[in-house]
């Protein structure tokens, strides 16, 4: 027997059902409105170290700009600009007075004070080479009152503002005094800054995911944004940085809308994105990076300047850049130590000394120097794509010139440990390695670590000792006009090329990509997430 179930509806039941339906739609739209607007980004590396003073790692610097702020910023004209503070300089140029602007608060709700900034500057200066140099000329640094920082120089030093405003490695990030009092060799215990974003500690997964939310109490400046200067207006609720170690996966995720932004797109995969009308592919930092070779000045054969010159002449920038970058639209051969497109960039000295692949001259110099075939121990990192092609190309060029090259492949971590060794190359040391810097890290003789020529105790790996170069660097720091700085920078470049302090191998740029739902992506030497808007 079939049974039939009949449901009789009543007006009351219909009204109840309708009300429930309407309520649920209302609830859904309410939920939609309160759902955070999130920008999902894949950066060039996972975030592990989150103290931006402890390390020079670029990803940590990028993290620093999310959470922390700086007294000064730098605009696209390479000019220091007020950010947290404005300044006045005494007539004799020895006293700098910084005044904090109104409305600055830390993420824990406390007001930013001058004492916080003094402690932050002291911590920064212990880690940053430019800061160290600055402090050698500082008589006192103190909080004159709640909002005033007074820096008094003991001797003229005209690069104060540029150092406080420099955008990279290591920017002078401000933090509460209780955090800034942490030793610079230990990580700060909390991420409390005054920057436009808060760090969400509960959601942090080192090496995998880091989450930032808009800091509602942040008061941006009124000026339009320009590099790290101007107004930092945040228009989204959340920014999530997701680590994707597989570059193809990241490309696919961007194409499918899983993510909104990729900081560095591999150039060989960029054509896959060019055909997608929903995506934008652009270079955010036109200055880019510089690749270079560094020799060990302590041991033969590169303790002889003629042999260093021979090696430089044997190498060819075009070959290195073609192997490293591939696409000529994204690299430029130039011999400048300070970047091809910066105010101090020039071709001074490059007509005589530059990596042009002049094998004949290289062989002549080797013969003149009496090169005896001492092996050149060349370190070759195998696991970092941006520094593994250079040694291969250079080794071949050196061999063609007559050098005896001994290539030693290893992972980057092993290389970093080995290059710190001042042992004989045959005993765990080395003769040559290659590395890259972004242009803001080398764009003047003060911040450029490779031009530090203080020898074994004070120089970057390679340890050149050159008193004339050091004297010129000091002159640069005390120069009082841009013209004087340009003149000294050219003289430094001529001298440093002749002495082959290092071998500039050209500049190159990377490309970023983002969804066309994002607007207001700012160009600059550092990727930033203020000014962005996202249409859903």
């Amino acid at each position: 027997m079939q049974s039939t179930v009949v449901i009789k509806s009543s007006p009351g039941m219909v009204r109840s059902l309708l009300s429930a339906t309407l309520l649920s739609f209302g609830a859904m739209s309410f939920v939609a409105e309160t759902q955070a607007q999130t920008v999902n980004a894949v950066m060039h590396s996972g975030v592990r170290i989150i103290d931006p003073i402890l390390t020079t790692a670029h990803i940590t610097r990028n993290h620093g700009y999310m959470v922390f702020d700086t007294l000064l910023g730098m605009n696209e004209e390479f000019q220091p600009q007020p950010q947290m503070a404005d300044w006045e300089i005494s007539d004799d140029g020895l006293v700098y007075t910084f005044t904090l602007r109104d409305g600055l608060t830390w993420h824990d709700g406390e007001a930013v004070t001058a004492a916080d900034c003094v402690a932050s500057l002291e911590r920064w200066a212990k880690r940053d080479s430019g800061g160290l140099m600055l402090m050698n000329h500082v008589e006192s640094l103190e909080a004159s009152d709640e909002r005033t920082i007074t820096l008094t120089l003991s001797s003229p030093f005209s690069y104060v503002l540029e150092l406080l405003a420099k955008p990279s490695s290591v920017p002078a990030f401000m933090m509460p005094e209780r955090l800034a009092s942490t030793s610079p060799e230990e990580a700060i215990p909390e991420q409390i800054g005054s920057g436009p974003f808060r760090f969400m500690a509960d959601e942090f997964q080192p090496g995998n995911r880091v989450v930032y939310t808009k800091f509602e109490e942040y008061v941006p400046r009124d000026e339009p944004p320009s590099w790290t200067a101007g107004g930092k207006v945040v228009n989204v609720d959340r920014v999530e940085w997701i680590t994707m170690p597989d570059q193809q996966t990241a490309i696919n995720a961007l194409g499918s809308g899983d993510i909104d932004f990729i900081e560095q797109v591999p150039l060989d995969l960029a054509p896959l994105l060019e055909t997608n009308d929903d995506l934008i592919l652009e270079t955010l930092s036109e200055m880019g990076s510089q690749t270079m070779g560094r020799m060990n000045f302590l041991y033969p054969p590169f303790d002889d300047v003629r042999i260093r010159q021979a090696a430089m002449l044997a190498m060819n920038q075009e070959d290195v850049l073609a192997a490293l970058v591939g696409n000529a639209d994204y690299y430029e051969a130039c011999g400048s130590f300070f970047g091809c497109t910066t105010p101090l960039g020039s071709d001074a000295g490059t007509d005589t000394w530059m990596a042009t692949g002049d094998l004949d001259r290289a062989r002549e110099l080797l013969e003149e120097a009496g090169y005896d075939g001492t092996p050149v121990v060349m370190l070759q990192p195998t696991d970092v794509a941006t520094v593994s092609p250079q040694p291969v190309v250079a080794a071949q060029a050196l061999r063609q010139a007559g050098f005896n090259v001994e290539m030693q492949p290893m992972d980057w971590q092993t290389l970093v440990t080995r290059r710190a060794s001042q042992n004989d190359p045959a005993d765990g040391g080395w003769n040559m390695f290659f590395t890259n810097w972004i242009i803001p890290e080398v764009w003047n003789p003060i911040v450029n670590p490779m031009l530090n020529a203080q020898g074994r105790e004070g120089s970057f790996f390679g340890w050149p000792k050159d008193e004339e170069l050091e004297a010129m660097r000091l002159d640069f720091a005390m120069a009082e006009s841009d013209e004087e700085r340009e003149r000294i920078a050219e003289a430094i470049q001529v001298h440093a090329l002749e002495q082959v302090i290092y071998v500039p191998l050209g500049d190159y740029r990377s490309v970023s990509s983002w969804s066309n739902q994002l607007d207001g992506v700012l160009k600059g030497p550092v990727p930033v997430f203020w000014n962005l808007t996202k249409s859903e």
Binding site: R48, L54, T56, S129, A187, M410, V416, A420
Partner: protein, 313 residues
């Protein structure tokens, strides 16, 4: 059985101690300096020395070992040198994706490979057997990442049925979890399907020639009952061994699959830790993996007693 279980657990303690000592020494004697990766390129020798001192890396090796061992006994696996995050927190963050991937992959493996192996053995020498064996060769030969990319291309990009990447916890719902685990689990299971299919087939072929199988057929049992109730149960011992070992391998590190599908698992964690010389993380993960192998081996041995009543401990 209980006494056997206890004996095996106690016997694993010296094994774990040896593993702890071995991994500690291997890391400390290998080239690499965590202080350098923390400080970055521009750190001076003095700054690096200070960082090493702050991390306790300047202590004599035996002091470092016993300090670490002492903390280990108290259940403290230490803090990451690089991120300053407790190691157990980092492992905990990565455990669910790894276990989820491994469990689903093993399920796919068992559900697909065991019947395939049985069928191949049952139809030994015929078209079906040859087809299954050829397919298993493909499963062995094609690299995991190629399979992954092909599955992504077809199901995610072309058909749009599944997401391209990522992991969603089960707590976020079955649909989001399942949609993102299917492709990586299939990818990961491909080589194990190939392996266990062949293992099942070989084991079944040995058993199918036995007298009791002939007797079972002579009694008039349905072929399905002969295969799955009698033959497979007798062939199960080596199959269980491979399944258990495969599961342990999946838990301990499948970095290629995790990278292709962007799954934040233990495989990626240990590779990142090795590249960064993050000693506490590496040591903890290797110890946990060793412990996992001990437990899984024990469970496999105990499972023999379930499938084969002749085996008693």
């Amino acid at each position: 059985m209980f006494a056997y279980f206890i004996r095996r657990i106690l016997a694993s303690i010296p094994v774990m101690l040896v593993v702890a000592l071995f991994v500690f020494l291997l890391l400390r004697l290998s080239p690499g300096d965590p202080a350098a990766i923390i400080a970055g390129d521009m750190a001076s020798p003095a700054q690096l020395a200070n960082i090493r001192a702050a991390l306790g890396l300047d202590q004599p090796l035996h002091i470092q070992f016993f300090v670490w061992l002492g903390e280990l006994v108290r259940g403290n696996f230490g803090t990451s040198l690089i991120s300053q995050t407790p190691v157990l927190t980092m492992i905990g963050q990565r455990l669910e994706p790894t276990v989820s991937l491994a469990v689903v992959a093993i399920l796919f493996t068992v559900v697909i490979s065991v019947p395939l192996g049985v069928i191949a053995a049952w139809r030994h020498g015929r078209f079906l057997d040859n087809l299954v064996m050829s397919a298993s060769v493909v499963g062995f030969s094609v690299p995991v990442f190629v399979i992954g990319y092909l599955l992504i291309q077809l199901f995610a990009l072309e058909l749009g049925w599944l997401p391209v990447q990522g992991f969603r916890s089960l707590s976020e719902g079955i649909a989001p979890f399942a949609s993102r685990i299917v492709l990586p689990a299939l990818t990961l299971s491909s080589i194990y399907i190939a392996l266990i299919t062949r293992m099942t087939r070989a084991s079944m072929l040995e058993v199918l020639d036995e007298d009791y199988i002939r007797t079972a057929r002579a009694k008039g049992l349905a072929e399905r009952a002969v295969l799955f109730r009698h033959a497979l149960r007798n062939a199960a011992v080596p199959i269980l061994t491979v399944i258990g070992t495969g599961f342990a391998l999946m838990i301990s590190g499948v970095v290629v699959t995790e990278s292709v599908f962007n799954i934040p698992g233990l495989g990626r964690l240990i590779v990142d830790a090795v590249l960064a010389r993050d000693y506490p993380v590496i040591q903890a993960l290797i110890l946990l993996t060793a412990g996992l192998y001990v437990i899984i081996n024990l469970l496999i041995d105990l499972s023999y007693a379930i499938t084969d009543p002749r085996i008693r401990y």
